[in-house]
């Protein structure tokens, strides 16, 4: 049962990874990468590691995405200034 669940999550993660790589829009790509982390944190719970799951969700998924967005925002600002 767990294996099937992980398998489904894995397929979604791989799909998200492909989206993150091939999606033209940077914003979507960043969000897709965030989704991978988020799904990974679910797997971590299944792997009996709630500590890591929390961290991955908060830092790997949440904060990393925010940092990406900040950077993107910054780049847009520079573009606008030019």
């Amino acid at each position: 049962m767990t294996n099937i669940f992980i398998g489904v999550l894995g397929v979604i993660m791989i799909a998200a990874a492909l989206i993150a790589i091939y999606q033209k829009s940077l914003l979507s790509a960043i969000v897709a990468a965030g989704v991978i982390s988020l799904l990974a944190s679910i797997i971590y719970i299944l792997l009996a590691a709630p500590d890591v799951a929390m961290t991955e969700a908060a830092i790997g998924s949440g904060l990393t995405t925010i940092v990406f967005l900040y950077a993107l925002n910054k780049i847009r600002k520079i573009k606008a200034d030019k």
Partner: protein, 226 residues
């Protein structure tokens, strides 16, 4: 195009190379030598329910200190890279809704963060997770209060002092107990209680503060530069 094809072939070879890690490999069936000892003796030696926390803060405390240092360096590095803060960043005045929301939410968020890192030795979570929560709270606060000079100053103090206190506590371990970062400088207390596990709650508090301040620092530095 040729380059992509070539990259693809190389990655395929890499996968072939890594195959033994999947095929010729049996997962742990029993705990490793080190883990065995942590599980057997950990609760008594360190006094924390959550062994991950015990490992992070005590057994592998040096890693964690290093990790804090990495975040610290990244914050400093980003500040260094993006140059002088120009101060010309004009924030649009926050709306009434945000202000009220912040006033209402901030204490709860901060409390939640503190809860997470204070209970690090008991339940999942700890300084890092709590730190992120605190960081989000502070970000909200910064969003609401355009007058960020005070907050950034305060952040600096929190960041620097919590780091320094962390080192000092580690040093106390060296002087008073078995070694650098030994948590038994404070009594281990009663197993499973909030005030237990020696200095772990204290250390995790400092880590939480420092991580929170640093994460905000990273975002601030990225935001504010010219």
């Amino acid at each position: 195009m040729v380059k992509k094809l070539f990259s693809l072939i190389i990655l395929a070879l890499l996968v072939i190379m890594l195959l033994p890690l999947m095929t010729d490999f049996a997962p742990f069936a029993e705990l490793s030598r080190v883990a065995e000892k942590y599980v057997q003796k950990g609760p008594a030696e360190v006094g924390g329910q959550n062994l991950v926390t015990s490992v992070i803060v005590t057994y592998r405390g040096l890693d964690t200190l290093g990790e804090i240092a990495v975040l610290f360096i990244a914050t400093a590095g980003i500040g260094f890279l993006l140059g002088k803060s120009s101060g010309k960043h004009k924030r649009s005045e926050a709306s009434q809704l945000v202000n009220t929301g912040t006033a209402f939410l901030l204490p709860i968020i901060l409390l939640f963060g503190v809860f997470i890192f204070l209970h690090g030795h008991l339940t999942p979570g700890g300084g890092f997770q709590g730190g992120v929560v605190i960081a989000s709270g502070i970000l909200l606060f910064v969003l609401a209060n355009a007058d960020s000079q005070i907050s950034s100053n305060l952040l600096h103090w929190i960041e620097d002092l919590s780091g320094a206190f962390y080192v000092i506590i580690g040093l106390l371990g060296l002087i008073l107990a078995g070694g650098f970062l030994d948590n038994s400088i404070l009594p281990l207390g009663q197993f499973g209680k909030l005030i237990s596990a020696g200095a772990i709650p204290l250390i995790y508090t400092l880590i939480g503060l420092k991580v929170g301040a640093e994460l905000v620092g990273i975002l601030n530095n990225m935001q504010r530069s010219q």
